[in-house]
């Protein structure tokens, strides 16, 4: 019989045409807007966008780079915030992950839950809660209030990555290290750190990307400061030089997209 020759794999890998069309449709829906942003970064129109664009030009790159000094403040602030928030997330996230995965202690489940919660909580809740707290304690809005807001969800990202990696790392490796005479710090440095290194990089990059384009929480914790996403939001109401906003958006896409691709590569690699 013909059907007998067919291996189970060939059955599993062949998708029907309808499914392929559906998948293509979903992907198109997700990524079309990026294409539009890209296209209108090159349009010759300055105020309203029409389709198709009347002409294409590279002039707006020049304008964005040299004639719009108002871009640089928000950009530097966003990069600084993302870097510091990521650093805090790396330290706290990995420490929590180590504690939770290595030791059984009272309140362990509660801590796990509380650490993960901020990513599930709507940003608007986190934002308003932080704003109330900041107001209540009479703290002035600053660079650091933005960072605290971002750290709440950045810690989760690092924590999740590291916890998943530790779960895949055989516990016997750490026991073997101790058995061979290594103190806790030596075991951390020679065994645990290499095992979680790529998870840290991946988690850090995701955290950076999340922080870099965060709007909602930032709106509540930034006060009068403008981060790049908030600056972009502000540009939407301005009539002139609209393609400049698209160019900045492209830059944001690049700076968040690239780390996410790298992060995915790193977490995929085999642990063998």
């Amino acid at each position: 019989m013909q059907t007998r020759k067919q291996s189970p794999q060939s059955f599993a890998t062949r998708a029907p045409l309808e499914l392929k069309i559906l998948v293509a449709g979903v992907l198109l829906f997700l990524y079309c807007p990026f294409g539009i942003i890209l296209l209108y970064a090159f349009t010759t129109e300055e105020t309203a966008f029409t389709f198709p664009p009347p002409g294409l030009t590279l002039d707006w790159f020049g304008v964005a780079l040299f004639k719009r000094p108002d871009i640089w403040g928000p950009l530097t602030l966003s990069v600084q915030v993302a870097l510091v928030a990521t650093f805090i997330a790396l330290v706290l996230g990995s420490l929590i992950a180590l504690a939770v995965s290595r030791a059984k202690f009272f309140g362990r489940e509660a801590i796990t839950f509380l650490v993960i919660l901020p990513i599930a909580l709507p940003g608007i809740i986190t934002g308003i809660a932080l704003r109330s707290a900041i107001g209540l304690f009479g703290i002035d809005f600053s660079f650091w209030t933005i960072i605290v807001g971002h750290a709440t969800f950045c810690v989760v990202v690092v924590y999740n990555n590291v916890v998943a990696r530790l779960r895949r790392t055989a516990k016997s490796q750490m026991e073997a290290s101790a058995d061979l005479g290594a103190h806790s710090f030596q075991t951390f440095r020679y065994i645990i750190l290499p095992a979680i290194a790529t998870a840290l990089v991946a988690g850090g990059m995701l955290a950076f990307a999340l922080s870099f384009d965060e709007v909602i929480v930032t709106t509540f914790t930034a006060g009068q400061q403008t981060t790049l996403p908030i600056w972009i939001l502000g540009q939407l109401t301005r009539p002139r030089q609209r393609p400049v906003t698209n160019i900045v958006a492209l830059f944001v896409i690049a700076i968040t997209f690239i780390p996410i691709v790298i992060a995915q590569r790193l977490t995929q690699d085999t642990n063998e």
Partner: protein, 348 residues
């Protein structure tokens, strides 16, 4: 001085218990492991043998009792401060390090000088007969090679006690039998006390100087392999180490005049024609062959005894072919054995 140090046991358990919640993994165990011996902890999974090993290594702390290593109480001593090393069941090689770095790890963390480290790593790799593998990563080794590297990594530190947690479990039969002999040779060569955990009774019988048989967190019997095999003290030991026939109440009464349960090994029973005269000191029972299992080298006969019960008899296929032995099914036979081979067991 030398004499007295030899008298101090390498490992001593004094009424040691380790409980996990309600589960008594190790329940009031006392034992002594002599310096330089090959000691096996044998038992089914969940019998507490691995927990005992982990207690010696320091990965677990006893809830009750005391553990001594070479006379010193080590209950609270962390694993890195104990002069014992472990070969893990999953080998636990460090995947990001080369073979050389894996084997040298113990020396590296103890800050042994580079030259000395290199020399000892090479020496130990030669001992496990893998000197050419130094630069490889663990992922590039076969299962048997990883096992040897795990052994080398533990031996390089020259511990006074080496703990082995079912190290041969993942290997195929041929390789396992080779490694059994090799491990024994290495042990003689280095003269270190080996504590070997296994659920494989044949493995334990092959390699050990002494065996402790574990069941449900307790030690059932400790003794030399022949002693454990020939003189099982409990029904569990008789059944777990090799196979045994347990003869109960009525049949026992008929044969011995006492209703105490006794055990008899299948290979000690002879199967003869019914009505054959037996010698003095031998016992005889009539029965019929219920089942025949042909095993190649041996044949196993299950014989239904008149008056109730079954006995298993194992016979080497000296003169019979598989066709001959299979014809024995249903045949009436007489079973006979020397009375000195049956063992009255402790009532559990």
């Amino acid at each position: 001085m030398d004499k007295s140090s030899n008298l101090i046991p390498a490992v001593r358990f004094e009424n040691v218990s380790r409980h996990f919640g309600e589960v008594k993994a190790v329940d009031d165990v006392s034992l002594e492991i002599h310096d330089g011996e090959f000691f096996s902890m044998l038992g089914p999974s969940g019998s507490g043998k691995t927990t005992c090993l982990r207690l010696i290594a320091g990965f677990e702390q006893p809830n009750l009792g005391s553990i001594f290593l070479h006379g010193a109480r080590v209950n609270e001593l962390p694993p890195y401060a104990r002069d014992v090393n472990t070969v893990f069941q999953d080998y636990a090689l460090f995947p990001h390090m080369s073979v050389e770095e894996n084997v040298g790890y113990g020396l590296m963390v103890k800050k042994v000088a580079k030259a000395e480290r290199t020399r000892r790593v090479q020496e130990t790799l030669e001992l496990v007969r893998l000197p050419q593998m130094a630069k490889r990563k663990p992922s590039q080794l076969s299962g048997g090679q990883r096992q040897r590297i795990a052994l080398a990594r533990a031996l390089v530190n020259r511990p006074r006690v080496l703990l082995l947690d079912e190290p041969l479990g993942a290997l195929d039969l041929k390789l396992r039998q080779e490694m059994q002999i090799e491990l024994k040779e290495i042990q003689k060569q280095v003269g270190i006390t080996f504590v070997f955990v296994t659920h494989d009774q044949e493995e334990a019988l092959t390699m050990s100087d002494r065996i402790a048989v574990f069941n449900a967190g307790r030690v059932e019997q400790i003794g030399a392999p022949a002693e454990i095999y020939e003189h099982p003290q409990t029904a569990f030991v008789a059944g777990f180490v090799g196979t045994s026939n347990l003869v109960h109440s009525q049949v026992a009464q008929k044969l011995t005049g006492s209703n105490e349960t006794f055990s008899i090994r299948p290979e000690k029973i002879r199967m003869v024609e019914p009505g054959t005269q037996v010698q003095n000191g031998w016992t005889a029972l009539d029965g019929a062959v219920r089942e025949v299992v042909y095993l190649g080298m041996l044949t196993r006969y299950i014989v239904a005894i008149e008056g109730g019960g079954e006995l298993t008899v194992v016979r080497q296929n000296l003169d019979e072919t598989s066709m001959d032995v299979l014809r024995a099914r249903g045949k009436r036979v007489q079973l006979t054995w020397q009375r000195t081979f049956d063992r009255v067991l402790d009532q559990a």
